[in-house]
């Protein structure tokens, strides 16, 4: 399976993942400070900063866009429970 590199800046770790992995699932296992609530794209708790590789994440859904807007998220913020790593390199940190 194709691989991608996901880096958590807050704990200085890079994890090689299979493409399609959700950031939150890797973050939880790896112990990054990205926190979460519902894991269903509803509560907005897991907003993270995407520092690099924005284009290597899955596109936000209409629902995610709405939650990001409601939480006044910045241009390079995503929900870790919705964003999937599609390839290449992605660097994230807790918002």
């Amino acid at each position: 399976m194709a691989k991608a590199e996901l880096t958590f800046k807050d704990i200085n770790k890079t994890v090689t993942v299979s493409t399609g992995e959700r950031v939150i699932d890797v973050s939880e296992k790896e112990g990054s400070g990205i926190v979460y609530g519902c894991k269903e794209g509803d509560c907005g708790t897991c907003i993270m900063d995407v520092l690099e590789g924005w284009e290597n994440l899955s596109q936000p859904s209409v629902v995610e866009d709405k939650i990001l807007r409601e939480n006044a998220a910045g241009r390079h913020q995503r929900l870790a429970c919705q964003a999937q790593v599609l390839g290449g390199k992605v660097v994230v940190k807790p918002a």
Partner: protein, 424 residues
Amino acid sequence: MDAVINAATNREAIQVAERVHWVGALDPQLRTFDLILQTANGTTYNAYLLRGSEGVAVIDTVKEEFADEFFTRLESVADYSEIKVIVLNHLEPDHTGALPTLLQRAPQAQVYISYKAPKMLKALLKDEQTLQFNPVNTGDEISLGDRTLRFIHTPYLHWPDTQCAYLPEDYILFSGDVFGCHFCDTRLFNDLCGDFRFSFEYYYAHIMRPFRKYVLEALQHIEPLELEIIAPSHGPILRDRPNSYVQRFRELATSKLPIEQGSDKTLLIFYLSSYGNTAKMAQAVCSGAETVANVRVSLYDLAGGEVEPFVNLVEEADGIALGSPTINGDATKPIWDLLSSMVMIETQGKLGAAFGSYGWSGEAVDMLESRLRGLKFKVPVPGFRVKLIPTEEELQQCHDFGVQLGKVLTGKTTHKVIDFEDLV
């Protein structure tokens, strides 16, 4: 001030200000609220009616079982046809229980809720598919002619949707659960009723304290307001020295312990040990973390203290490491007692770690790590277990484990690359 006020003598509205009436309900028999809160004095569900020159606003309602009392009080000062606005500062059922009936009786009324509340409102009123509502945010205003309500979104005080509504013409803050408490006194006003200081502090400790960061953010919006009355949704109406309650919130939300460590990062190590093995590990972890500059490490034997002071310590700390032996396939009760009390404080983003000695199976460390993650600690350093008595080599590994924790706390870790499959 009023000579005699007794909300229990009849079910009429009680005047709070020239244009504002209390139309709430008394629940003196309540002893447990939301499963987690005790109250020796019951509670009140405070709802308010505001009359402007161009219509009436109802601010919050009451718990469903108390709807009759609410409606009777409301009817004593207004007709349903006059109600132009319904403000819901918080959607918890003890404040929205009478909403469906109120909407049937005042179908023309516009409902105003926090912009964070629509999904909750829909979930609360599942049969009211046609419900119309207006989401509002900080700074939004609604006019009732010569009276205005200005909204202040106060997220996580204590739900995501919670908000306050400020009446600038009369300097009244309808504060929802903020500045509230469970204390039922028929005299209603803080200058008349019994001593509710304990209830006020208890309510803060259980409802607001886990959201300390958000309390401080909300106070930035509330402190600049000129206040003559704070009208919360539970407990006494604060018309005598309302600012002192705002100030008390500021004090309660500010660090409980003197900050002596300056900019140092603090790591607390809590352990329990039946044969001294986990204690030796704890000392080694401590000695390792101490070698990292700008880390202040403290070591505590949980057998020698009570939970609450330790929880206070954790609230101020940057990280904790928990050491427990495995007994009967589990971590030990004092550790769980400590962890179960951490819902009282904000733990999000702190560093967490676990270690321990074990005899047969050693489940405790994994269990503690899971709980730490559940409490939103970050757990980047894998837990460390030793079978029975730690060797010198294993104690050195504990020492290194402590060094790693110190480095994570101070951001001195070297970049590490791993494969996700190794973690799963």
